[in-house]
Symmetry: C2
Subunit: 288 residues, 2 copies
């Protein structure tokens, strides 16, 4: 039994449902969400971990169910998170360790896994906000085109959060953003920043219509990324791991820069290359 | 049967051994090398992929056996790589597609997987070279302490190659550098640059003895990484994913810098943070 703070136990705020069977239908449905087809059909997805769930709460994600196992908790604040979830309508299920490990997609689960409703990722609603924002200050967008590996996409989102982009836009999606490994690698930052999915066409139109310079990193550029003036309203655009940016984006970019490569390999990991570009914008903006 | 260029077929340089059984002892031994215990005991490891194997040849890695499947080849240069391997004493085994897929640790194998002898990673021999180098120019070292995830360690090595460090030093290793995912994420750059393993003690002694400034990234620093003068002989030191640098390295560092964090998360992925530090050294060196 979970050890609740006395005040809560008295007030009986947690009406706990217990799951000990690996065959439990809710457990099976949660595990099925590892699978993209199941996620697409149900419009649900998994959020695992204390940090990720805290950020999902912060980002007002609709969390339907929480599976928890106190024996696996690492910190002291899990009960407060659970309380805040229950107040927002999440149903809580206390699980045996074996059940929680079965649902978990981590080597070292921290005792918290939730099923949540997929967020609305439409570009249309965000575009109005961005257009307003653009009048006031320098817009800073990240556009990621067709990134394949969930870990890379999540890491890109983590870096986008770190530099404070106005929006992270996933064009022509390849990886499902609700893949558990995107959630994990982003450490939940996909819940706290504006992240949308869009077609390349609508994003290009938006950038052109609002005088946002599109900046592409390509080995064929003449100047290095630290030598080009990257100030003003900008969109950093990055492409797939294997092939880089599509011709469409390359030819639409106002500025092309290269990242110097001094070794034997001809490219960096896509998430590290993206992070270099994002922080270069930050450096230039802070060094007027 | 693999289609060899006519000249080679005539000269009969490839005496091909065929494997079609998943139960073949050599296949089983290769698969066992996914396991760290097997790698440690045999001092062998796996190298998969055309780029990775090409760089292993370039780096003079001792490649014992090559399993190949022409039906999976993606390019045209595989036969030249195979020829160069055979000339250096590698035994070649042609495999059925199912056998090769069984040995492969990738979703999309490109038809080439080798078993190789683990390289010598001792710091002692390299230290003399570095000491010589240090007299001539600004030394540039990367020191990675106890990185846990193979993908992160490989990505760090890929970035270290990209900026041309004089050596990448793995202190107090946690991840086995011969893990297949290190090889993959490094895209073989661990074969073409000086990579060694060492105790923190010997590396610290070396840095202190040769006036190499130790530069650590920590959120507690006062100045941002782009504002501090990082020129001269330097060692960038980075720590684990979860806990960052150990107290030992933090307190031994001459320079502490922070990476600005504008979002809700308080840290970056360790490989992206390392890459930012490495490229900042490069930027400052090029902007005298």
């Amino acid at each position: 039994m979970v050890s609740l703070p006395p005040s809560r136990r008295k007030r009986g705020e947690f009406s706990l449902l217990q799951i000990t069977s690996l065959q439990n239908a809710k457990v099976k449905r949660a595990i099925a969400l590892m699978n993209r087809k199941e996620r697409d059909e149900s419009a649900l997805f998994l959020i695992e971990g204390f940090r990720e769930l805290s950020r999902a709460v912060q980002g007002k994600v609709d969390i339907k169910e929480l599976f928890f196992c106190p024996a696996l908790f690492l910190g002291e604040n899990e009960l407060y998170l659970m309380e805040s979830l229950q107040q927002r309508g999440t149903v809580l299920y206390q699980c045996s360790e074996s059940v929680l490990r079965k649902i978990s997609y981590r080597d070292r689960p921290d005792g918290l896994i939730a099923v949540a409703k997929q967020m609305e990722l439409s570009f249309a609603t965000l575009a109005d906000d961005l257009a307003q924002l653009q009048k006031k200050q320098d817009l800073f967008l990240l556009i990621a085109e067709s990134i394949e590996k969930p870990g890379n996409l999540g890491t890109v989102l983590r870096s986008a959060d770190a530099v404070g982009v106005d929006a992270a836009i996933i064009c022509d999606r390849c990886t499902d953003i609700f893949n558990p490994n995107v959630v994990r690698a982003s450490v939940g930052t996909l819940f706290t920043q504006p992240v949308v999915e869009a077609s390349s066409e609508e994003v290009l139109k938006f950038c052109k219509g609002h005088s946002i310079r599109i900046i592409a990193a390509t080995p064929h550029a003449h100047r290095e990324f630290t030598q080009e003036n990257l100030r003003g309203p900008v969109a950093i655009v990055v492409g797939t791991e294997q092939l880089g940016l599509s011709e469409r984006w390359l030819s639409s970019s106002e500025v092309q820069v290269k990242i110097p490569m001094k070794g034997c390999a001809d490219s960096l990991n896509v998430a590290t290359a993206t992070t270099l570009m994002l922080y270069e914008i930050l450096r230039q903006r802070n060094s007027y």
